[in-house]
Symmetry: C2
Amino acid sequence: MDKKSPIKITLTERDESVTITQWVYQTLRYAVMNGQILPGRALTIRELASILDVSPMPVREALRQLAAENALEIQGNRRVMVPRMTAMKFTELCEARIAIESHAAARALPYIDATLLDQLRQLDRLIDEAQEQGDLEQVSILNQNFHRALYTANPHQVTLPLIESLWLQLGPFMRLATSKLDEHYLVDRHNEAMQAIERKDALALQMAITADIREGIAFAGTPELLHSFIEQSAGVTA
Amino acid sequence: MDKKSPIKITLTERDESVTITQWVYQTLRYAVMNGQILPGRALTIRELASILDVSPMPVREALRQLAAENALEIQGNRRVMVPRMTAMKFTELCEARIAIESHAAARALPYIDATLLDQLRQLDRLIDEAQEQGDLEQVSILNQNFHRALYTANPHQVTLPLIESLWLQLGPFMRLATSKLDEHYLVDRHNEAMQAIERKDALALQMAITADIREGIAFAGTPELLHSFIEQSAGVTA
DNA sequence: TTTAACTCAATGTGATCACAAATATTCTTT
DNA sequence: AAAGAATATTTGTGATCACATTGAGTTAAA
């Protein structure tokens, strides 16, 4: 039945208030983001439907939506797969993150009040705890929450969907990066960011965000490490 | 049959080599981009299917894809509509364009060779011609082609889908802006951009792109004009 | 042994149907 | 005449089926 590498996806209980399509979408999105589906692995509607125990219809819609967000790639054959990563693409994704997220941060700055700043501090504290406990998955999630909370302070903000698309594309590779991070001493860029917020210093905030992103992927500075990661997750050969 | 405002969509002949879903997607995308569907107007699958003379299935998929690109908005009721525009959102979209597109331009610069530069020059000539003939629709399309050609010079580029999403959201409002543009004397920022390219001057290129975008929406500097545009296309009241 | 042609299973696309929720309409009551 | 309740209609969601195309597997010829 499983001709290629078997797919192991984290299944969550489906909330009745949510449509099947939405549940499938969230499930697949989580799987892609966490590298549970190897890049290059061909996905078929019926196979996923069978794994998730739903009819093919919701899977079709979820796949199309993920493809529209660049989380999946539709080949000419109309086959769907997780896009393969290259070193150059990885660099472009990171630089795009820096450009867009530092912009989003600066645009959000005028809207950040004391309440939100407290929330950010609390998130930062939770991140430190998770880091001490070595719960890298939690660190990754909380880190995203930190960035999201910052950018969405701007009520007219329009870039978050674009940013989330980049996160999704970096997906498994951010995790690999994170797993190497605890070996290094890590300057707390979040603290620098919050100090910049207190001073309403947009430039300092942008630099803190930039540094945070760049250090989160610091290993990309050593091409051989990045290459080994990419090779490691190269997945099925074409 | 047509309870609300009737929808007039530009219908093109469907190429046999293209799937119905793709054709519906392109058709609806063009309609949204050109403001043929009023913001706030509720769209139903069956109504569109009837207009386009296809079954509901391809319409469902196309709508979902457009929603994933932020071209359409799914309300809580699971109804779909073209998002309404606000002055603040308009500003945010334009600033996002500047941030991302100037970044994309700088990233593309090292890859631009003489051949591509010639293509850009030719596109610029075509734009001038269309402008003289007052063909604003053509100007708009060619202008997009110019920007696209520039950014895609970078073979590892990842931001074009994000940029296209912004174009789609600005959609009809860019056209409104363009229609007001011929009244002003327009500095040819494209020429400035190409001179910067020849000099391999990234900063000058970014400034030219920024100016090009900003002037394309110069009327946004006068809030009352922008407001009247938004009111004008406010569409169906909620 | 290799390659080309043929066969057959698997897949994506699209149509149709059923159903429950949401919306609009009509009817009743005050 | 106005407001609330009951009914009817419309709509999105999801399942199932049919069909053309793609890809794999097999056989036969060189």
